[in-house]
């Protein structure tokens, strides 16, 4: 054993070589022989009744195999969980510009394009609403009829969280600040746009190979929407070309399924163009968040927070995102008196849904700026102030969330406090070159792991000893690029004491792997890893027991499982795993284990809907970030000079994989803070239609990221780990905003902090010449 699979060692990715050679087959890379291309006609109205869809001439285009509308759908024609409100193809009405109206199957892409142009739809245009606050008004146009009248017509979900006596507490504060933050809509912009292939097999199984974070949930939703028994649907999820939440749920699966049911048995392929992906994929919820925060003698005392999220035309995961936002609204602080109100509202805008950070990202962007504002107002040191008010294990946050598990925010804060970037900040700022201003900013925060108290967070792992003495891991959770497959090998390798190449990985396949939930919510390794670890322990025991039977008269305690064999310590005799495998029945060579994440059962201070949507969590990751940046006084351009991310993600299983998450997440968060602004015009039209106008950071725009892990031991996580996939994206926005506020001497409340939003601040800034 060369130690490569030991927990804590930097195991390189098992998927690396195939990906580096260009040989890995993503969903987009499947071109089954005889395929038909599927494409969608989308609505160009934001809100309209469909009067008539004329598909006749499209059907006559040479090379067109089928033109389908909602009439061809046998099931409920609704997808989405928990709220099933989104049609695969619009039936009575369209609710945003881009809603799919008809589906075309054609021999090639040119015939497809031609046919799509030929479809004409007659609409009766309805009044539309694009502003979430207007959408809550009584006379606003209604998107979804037949929803509970008590909720307010367009309110998907709302919540209130109360602790202490907020009215009195606000009076008692000796310093109080207030701010309303407008957070932009963020596009996932994974490099692989939505893609998949589907076919109906000889025995009438609908088989879909698709880029998805949620193969098992997809199956359930498809069964409902297409009117098929779930066991007649097989969803296969190869490696994804990125997900980040954007493939957390149905994207093209419904359309692909429908297509395959009408293709005369031929395989169908769909792959959205970048422009189409931008229109149809869910975004990070744009949010308006108003904070009031007050302290007494340097101790946080009262907070109010009002959150309005624009969930767009359909619910997607708007409910859980709001619940998460409300849960994280007080961040890592103890605050006795709190009022949080939240609304997730339907509008005729593009759909918002899951995105790495999942609501926590938005509130922390607001809260952590408010904390800085309060520190300035109270004349307090921004870091010292945070330290003084941060939670320890056993404490309760302002939102009433108990820190029952590992809680490493204070060590994170202290690590940053001692770093030269913080210690020498004044000097560094004062040394700004001509025409430049400098700022240093920090932010602290946390992120809950898993689904919360109501939806069970379960994983089922399966591992098999193969006849040749190798192992197959049946992964039930998609690998969207975060590397959980490699971590599975790492965990199994550690328990079974095997080299990485002893393992073969089976990607999620609803016919072969076991249901294990989504690749999301910082739970992938946490939940599946626990199940897998158990399954491996079972298998190890079984292998050793069988070895005892084979080598008559030995004791299990004297046997050691080592790479490829079992070693009998007293005699030095070795039994190859292949031999042991041959003595086991197939069923016996398989071990399965299930694991359910612990939940918080204590009574909380929110309404039941918000609890059902996932409030509160039990296990949290923590972080404190620091940024040093330079603002060009002449142009407003911001250069991020240095970035420090200090993270409590429990034990580090694999330093390389850990850094990958940190570096990638920070840069995605920088994008959110500085460049990314998915713009939708009044009228619902997307303005940032492609990668030329939606600005992602390039290699030239970002610095190296310094990652400093603070290792706590999380007793519920496999080998003490916690998820770090999301916590990392929550803090670049507020850290950068705090640094910019320091540099400019004024705060910008409208995100992102791009040139457009900086220009006003710039106008006021005076220029000094060099020399």
């Amino acid at each position: 054993m060369n130690g490569l699979t030991s927990i804590g060692a930097p195991l390189t990715r098992v998927d690396g070589p195939a990906k580096a050679r260009g040989l890995e087959k993503y969903a987009a890379d499947h071109y089954p022989p005889g395929l038909l291309w599927a494409g969608v006609k989308r609505s160009d109205h934001a809100h309209a009744m469909i009067k008539k869809i004329d598909i006749f001439s499209a059907g006559t285009v040479p090379g067109v195999a089928a033109v389908l509308t909602s009439k061809n759908i046998k099931g409920s024609n609704r997808v989405g969980l928990p709220e099933m409100d989104q049609p695969i193809l619009a039936d009575d009405k369209v609710r945003f510009r881009g809603d799919p109206v008809a589906l075309v199957l054609a021999e090639d892409k040119s015939a497809l394009a031609l046919a799509l142009e030929q479809i004409s739809v007659e609409y009766q245009v309805l009044n539309a609403v694009f502003d979430p606050e207007q959408a809550m008004e009584q006379d606003a146009p209604v998107l979804h009829e037949n929803r509970g009248a008590d909720k307010g017509k367009n309110i998907l979900i709302s919540g209130t969280l109360k602790r202490g006596n907020i009215t009195e507490a606000l009076e008692q504060c000796d310093a109080l600040v207030e701010g309303e933050f407008h957070l932009p809509r963020q596009e996932h912009a994974y490099l692989e746009t939505e893609a998949g292939v589907a076919r109906l097999t000889g025995d009438n199984i609908l088989e879909i190979t698709v880029s998805t974070q949620t193969p098992y949930r997809d199956r359930t939703e498809l069964a409902h929407a297409l009117g098929l028994p779930a066991d007649k649907i097989r969803v296969i999820a190869p490696y994804l070309g990125g997900g980040f939440g954007g493939k957390d749920g149905i994207t093209v699966q419904g359309l692909l399924g429908l297509a395959a049911l009408h293709s005369g048995g031929r395989p169908v392929k769909m792959w959205t163009t970048r422009e189409e992906s931008f229109i149809c994929s869910p975004k990070r919820h744009p949010a308006r968040i108003r904070y009031r925060l007050g302290c007494k003698n340097g101790t946080l005392h009262a907070m109010t927070c009002r959150i309005i999220m624009d969930t767009g035309a359909y619910a997607s995961l708007g409910g859980p995102v709001l619940a998460m936002a409300m849960e994280h609204a007080a961040g890592v602080y103890r605050i006795p008196h709190v009022l949080v109100e939240g609304y997730s509202v339907y509008t005729n805008n593009p759909v918002s849904g899951a995105f790495r950070g999942f609501g926590a990202c938005q509130v922390l962007a607001g809260l952590e700026q408010t904390v800085d504002m309060l520190a300035v107002k109270g004349g307090l040191d921004a870091l010292e102030f945070r330290l003084k008010n941060a939670v320890n294990r056993g404490d309760t946050t302002g939102c009433g969330v108990h820190m029952s598990n590992s809680t490493g925010i204070i060590p994170c804060l202290k690590t940053v406090q001692q770093h030269p970037f913080w210690v020498n900040r004044d000097k560094w700022v004062s040394e700004a070159p001509a025409f430049k201003r400098r700022g240093v900013g920090i932010a602290a925060g946390m992120q809950g792991t898993g689904y919360g108290p109501v939806v069970p967070d379960i994983a089922n792992a399966k591992i098999k000893l193969l006849p040749e003495g190798r192992f197959r891991i049946y992964s039930g959770v998609s690998d969207m690029g975060q590397g959980n497959n490699s971590t599975n090998v790492h965990i199994a390798g550690e328990v079974l004491c095997q080299e990485p190449d002893a393992f073969e990985l089976l990607q999620p396949d609803t016919f072969r792997t076991l249901p294990s939930g989504s690749s999301s919510a910082s739970r992938t390794t946490f939940t599946f890893g626990n199940a897998l670890k158990e399954a491996c322990i079972l298998l190890k025991e079984r292998i050793l027991a069988r070895a005892c039977n084979l080598a008559l008269g030995v004791y299990k305690e004297d046997l050691l499982l080592i790479p490829g064999k079992v070693l009998h310590l007293p005699t030095g005799r070795e039994i190859p795993l292949a031999l042991i495998a041959s003595a086991m029945a197939e069923d016996e060579r398989v071990c399965v284990s299930t694991w359910t994440a612990p939940v918080a059962r204590y009574p909380d201070s929110v309404n039941p809907e918000i609890r059902a949507a996932g409030f509160p969590h039990r296990v949290f990751s923590f972080a404190c970030h620091l940024v040093r940046l330079e603002i060009d006084e002449l142009t407003g351009e911001i250069a991020v000079c240095d970035y420090l991310a200090c993270t409590d993600g429990g034990r580090v299983l694999n330093p390389q994989a850990y850094e990958q998450q940190i570096q990638g997440g920070v840069v995605q968060g920088m994008g959110y803070a500085l460049w990314e602004d998915f713009k939708v015009a009044e009228g619902g039209e997307t303005l940032t239609r492609n990668l030329a106008t939606y600005i992602l950071p390039t290699a030239a725009d970002v610095p190296n990221i310094i990652s400093l892990p603070v290792e706590t031991e999380e007793e519920t996580g496999p080998f003490g780990m916690k998820g770090i996939g999301e916590i990392v994206i929550n803090l670049p926005f507020p850290a950068i905003a705090n640094a910019v506020a320091m540099g400019l001497g004024r705060r910008i409340f409208q995100g992102p902090l791009n040139l457009e939003h900086l220009q006003e601040a710039l106008q006021g800034s005076e220029k000094e010449a060099p020399q």
């Binding site: 690396g16 050679r21 070309g241 990668l691």
Partner: protein
């Protein structure tokens, strides 16, 4: 139209329409799906290939432009089982996450190392600035290119 060109050092004769995009020919007709498409409009670099040794975007190249050219795609970079030093470094340095940007990124890096065998980190950032990666934050990609450059210098 009939087009003759060299693909990964092997002569190819294909019959295709002159206006098809090179990325489609590679992926759909020739089964080389290592070359990815992320935007179709020059903005992401996922489709980067080398044409006569120079990095080009195969989503903005038409079939007719292939005539007589030497095309190298990610599939042609390794020699047999032996990974190219860039590929090896990408794996070892952790430069690959979802991996969808990887082929284009490696081809862009190959172009750089031909022009400049000893780039510094800033040179590498500039050279890869046309290749978007949404997963890695670029840092480990820069590490990988730096390390591959060193390996290749030591070999030469």
């Amino acid at each position: 139209m009939k087009i003759t060109f060299y693909l990964n050092n092997v002569k190819q004769e294909i019959e295709t329409q002159p206006d098809r995009r090179v990325v489609d020919i590679l992926r759909e007709d020739l089964g080389l799906t290592g070359t990815k498409e992320g935007c179709g409009s020059g903005e992401c670099g996922a489709c980067t290939i080398l044409a006569d040794g120079v990095s080009k975007l195969s989503c903005l190249m038409l079939a007719a432009q292939l005539e007589n050219r030497r095309i190298l795609t990610i599939e042609g970079l390794a020699s047999g089982e032996e990974l190219h030093p860039l590929q090896k470094a990408f794996v070892e340095k952790g430069a690959i996450q979802c991996g969808f940007c990887t082929p284009g990124m490696i081809m862009a890096a190959a172009d750089l190392l031909q022009r400049n065998p000893a780039p510094d980190r800033k040179d590498i950032r500039t050279a890869l600035s046309g290749n978007l990666c949404r997963c890695t934050g670029y840092q480990k990609i820069i590490d990988a290119v730096e390390s591959a450059a060193e390996t290749m210098r030591n070999k030469a």
